[in-house]
Amino acid sequence: MGEATVPLLLLVVPLLGAIVAALSARESWLARASTMVAMLVVLALALRLFLAYEPAADASPFDFNLPWMPALGINLHFAVDGFNVYLVLLAALLFPAVLGCTWGSAHTPRRLYLVLMLVLESSLLGTFLAQNVVLFFVFWEAVLIPTGVLILVYGGERRQRAAITFFLYTMAGSVLLLAAVIGLGAEALRQTGTWSFELGVLYGLRLDWNMQMFVFIAIMLACLVKVPLVPFHAWLPLAYYEAPPAVTALMAGALSKMGAYGILKLALPLAPDVAAAAGPAMAALAVTSLLYGAVLALREENYKKLIAYSSLSHMGYVVLGLFTLREVAVHGALLQMLSHGVAVVGLFALLGMLEQRLGPSYRHVTALSTAAPRFAIWLMLFVLTTVALPLTSGFTAEFLILFGAFAQGLAAWQAQAGTLQLTAALLAVTGMVLGATYMLRFARAILFGVDAGAHRIADLRPAETASLLPLLLVILVIGIAPAAVMSKAQSVATQLAPARTLAAPVPPALPAAPALASIGSTHGK
């Protein structure tokens, strides 16, 4: 009983915190305190869950399953598995960190703000933990409500437009998702005789090509808008720019991972044949997005938008890794989700703190290294993670992804299956160079310019440093010793990897995938 309820507690605790915050007096300390306590309890639970999760065990003990609408096969089923074990920890970590960083901002004392943050956390964790596809959809859409209202109420000048664009864009993506979800349930009814939306059951179904195609398109549309990848990214600059700093950080750090998670959890296992066939095209799309984001970031003067475009670029790596369909690249994609989530939250949080201190003039800030040295050091750490410096998580993740992409591209080339994948992998490497260029340009502009003496910036306070510290910890652990973390997701990587043989037969000249994985997992030690 005890362990099985942990996934449920992860969802309930924020809601309890939200109730306390909603009932507390206007602008009282109680609202803030209960929010922080709830988030920290969630973090503690998530940490315990992460450490105790045994990928080798047949059934995870953290499995909460309660019939909800038995006639339709809809269960309240929350469980931890290899797919979500990283993401639950990431989400649980980012919320308190972001709240800690924006503790002194103008809207943190507001009850509505805190309640919405907690509801957002609960629904986000619900998306990651749901093992029933209807439940997944419910949480997937439910995330939009608090995010939309947070942008709408606390956003910048054009917040109304940003909120509506964000909401409608992401809703539009998931219009077909519900049709696919119901279609899958009906398919289960046809094949097994009972309605079921349990993912465990749906994975076992045999879908014909057309059904797989429909499911794949529906899921990918929803996910690519959420990630986002290039033709679907139009909501991103406006929403990231207009949202309050904490929400921008969470959107880039945690919400964008929902899209990648949807690909990982639904699209690849439910439509394996179509995913394998569409893999090269999707990888090419991901690389396009990656380069597009990098080029935009190169030309961007506005710090916040620059980070937004860099986020677009880095999420491209995740999708590239997933659609390479190789063990090592899937590992890389999973790590990249974690690494990017942490690094981008750090960057956005630091920009938010600058904005909080300086107001709109933070956009002209320079020479931070002399004005606020601790601030500068932290900023540089996150910049270095973003440019994938060895010993940071960014390097581990992007190395594994590119390694996998190259191996796959070479294999496809040698198997006379075209050079699209190889070209994509080569171009993805260019993205890394571009990434280093724009991030270092950003760092130079903000840290090392000529100080006109106009800015008096308070340096980081201890509370803010304490909020950033866990992020750094994640970066270093993954950068230095990723093997222990990667072992948690091994089952997923091996489960998805066999699909690659459908795309292109692997020539015997190449080492087999497990060997690659072991190279990838030990390089940093």
């Binding site: 339709l72 901002s105 103008a106 809207h107 507001r110 509505l112 209807v134 959809f137 419910v138 949480f139 859409e141 439910a142 939009l144 409500i145 939309g148 209202v149 709408l152 109420v153 606390y154 956003g155 910048g156 000048e157 054009r158 917040r159 109304q160 909120a163 509506i164 909401f167 409608l168 809703m171 539009a172 219009v175 077909l176 519900l178 049709a179 119901i182 279609g183 349930g185 009906a186 009814l189 309605w195 429909f214 309050p244 003067e301 506005n302 904005e355 909080q356 107001g359 709109p360 956009r363």
Partner: protein, 433 residues
């Protein structure tokens, strides 16, 4: 037999007694305030009786071929009366006449659900609509109300005539005025029965304002007072939809009728949602949104798995109560007779709880999870997809997305112009558009 007539129809008797008492009280000139109280108590009593009947699994056929009380009838009556009760609780206290009219409309709804034959059914339909015309005009004090009511009256008369024609054709085909043989004949798809089924269905579609029979709805809804609009869009419309289930049962329709219903449902969904986007008046918006919702509900009829009876009960219950709550919350947020949606701007600051309720009601109508409206849609669409209409369902989802735009705009209005909560430091600079 006699006890079935007494106990089985007890909710109907309670409402009838209420109507008589109301008439009596008005003639002796008792205080007006007592009317709504009596209506609430009568509805509560009737709901309790129905609850008891459902709990004990009561079923009877007091008049074979004319009155049949089965589980669906009981559930449908409970849904309708519970929504009526909710409506009477949240709307302001009315006069004797308004309580009387609402009560007799609800009585008509009960009669429809009790009927197993077309004679009683037709009586019920007329009892449902006739008081509604009067209710639109009553207390509105505007020319537009009379115009709306007149449109409704004329088109309802056409609907009744169409239905009667269909019933007559059905009688010719089956030799009976009972519903069960009619539904079987429609199921098998013999030409006269198909025509009869389509005529009856179009009559009811007209009453439920399904495209292209929707012309009366925006005028009638916008002419009436807001609470009456709420009643028309929820209980009256829901009853008509459940009446369709009552007639056609769960045996499924023939292919021709199914195809026509699918097309009409899609057109309804798209037309209603597109037209609602441009509306500035809340009542007209509710009217167009109710056209779209009629589309979803009618779409459930193409189901062949037999699940649509329970799906539609859920849908009507959730949709009707949401509309009632939305109308009541709107009345609180924008007191007075005006119904321009602009009045909602920034309402969250003034009345946070009501605004939140209104916003959630709108999102629920849009079908955004985890709100109830989503589950209502989910149930309908699971049945429809299981019957093999995945493509049509996908189209319907696209249509429902169009609906999201205006529901969302309405709920976002609550937070609009909320200048104080916007942090002062966030001012766009340097070439930011």
């Amino acid at each position: 037999m006699a006890s079935d007539l007494a106990y089985g129809l007890l909710p109907d008797h309670l409402l009838l007694a209420l109507l008589l008492v109301l008439m009596l009280l008005e003639t002796i000139g008792a205080r007006e305030g007592i009317a709504s109280v009596l209506l609430r108590f009568a509805l509560l009593g009737a709901c309790a009786v129905l609850w008891q009947q459902i709990a004990t699994g009561y079923a009877a056929e007091p008049l074979p071929g004319e009155i049949r009380i089965d589980r669906f009838a009981l559930l449908a009556k409970l849904v309708i009366l519970a929504c009526g009760l909710l409506w009477s609780l949240v709307s302001p206290r009315g006069t004797y006449k308004s309580a009387f009219l609402a009560g007799s409309s609800l009585l008509g709804a009960l009669v429809i659900m009790d009927s197993a034959g077309f004679v009683l059914f037709f009586l019920g339909i007329e009892m449902l609509s006739l008081p509604a015309f009067a209710l639109i005009v009553h207390g509105a004090g505007r020319g537009t109300a009379a115009e709306g009511a007149f449109k409704y009256l004329l088109l309802s008369a056409v609907a009744s005539a169409t239905m009667l024609f269909g019933i007559a054709l059905g009688y010719g085909a089956t030799g009976s005025l009972a519903m069960a043989p009619f539904a079987d004949a429609v199921h098998t798809g013999a030409p006269p029965a198909v025509a009869a089924g389509l005529l009856v269905a179009s009559g009811l579609f007209l009453k439920a304002a399904v495209f292209p029979f929707h012309g009366w709805a925006p005028d009638a809804y916008s002419g009436a007072r807001l609470q009456v609009t709420g009643l028309l869009a929820s209980v009256v419309k829901g009853t008509v939809i459940l009446a369709l289930v009552r007639i056609f049962g769960t045996v499924g329709l023939n292919a021709e009728t199914t195809a026509i219903i699918t097309v009409l449902a899609m057109l309804s969904i798209f037309y209603g949602n597109f037209a609602a986007i441009r509306q500035r008046s809340f009542k007209r918006l509710i009217a167009y949104s109710s056209i779209a919702h009629a589309g979803y509900m009618v779409f459930a009829l193409v189901d062949t798995t037999g699940g649509h009876a329970s799906d539609l009960l859920w849908y009507v219950a959730i949709y009707a109560s949401t509309v009632i709550v939305a109308c009541a919350a709107f009345a609180v947020l924008c007191p007075g007779e005006g119904d321009d949606v602009q009045a909602l701007d920034g309402a969250f600051r003034a009345r946070p709880v009501t605004a939140l309720v209104f916003g959630l009601a709108m999102l629920s109508l849009a079908g955004i999870p985890p709100l109830p409206g989503f589950f209502a849609k989910l149930f309908v669409f699971t049945s429809v997809v299981a019957s093999g209409y995945l493509a049509a369902a996908s189209v319907a989802f696209v249509g429902s997305f169009i609906g999201v735009t205006y529901y969302l705009a309405l709920s976002f209005r609550l937070f609009a112009g909320d200048v104080q909560s916007a942090p002062a430091e966030r001012v766009p600079l340097r070439g930011e558009p």
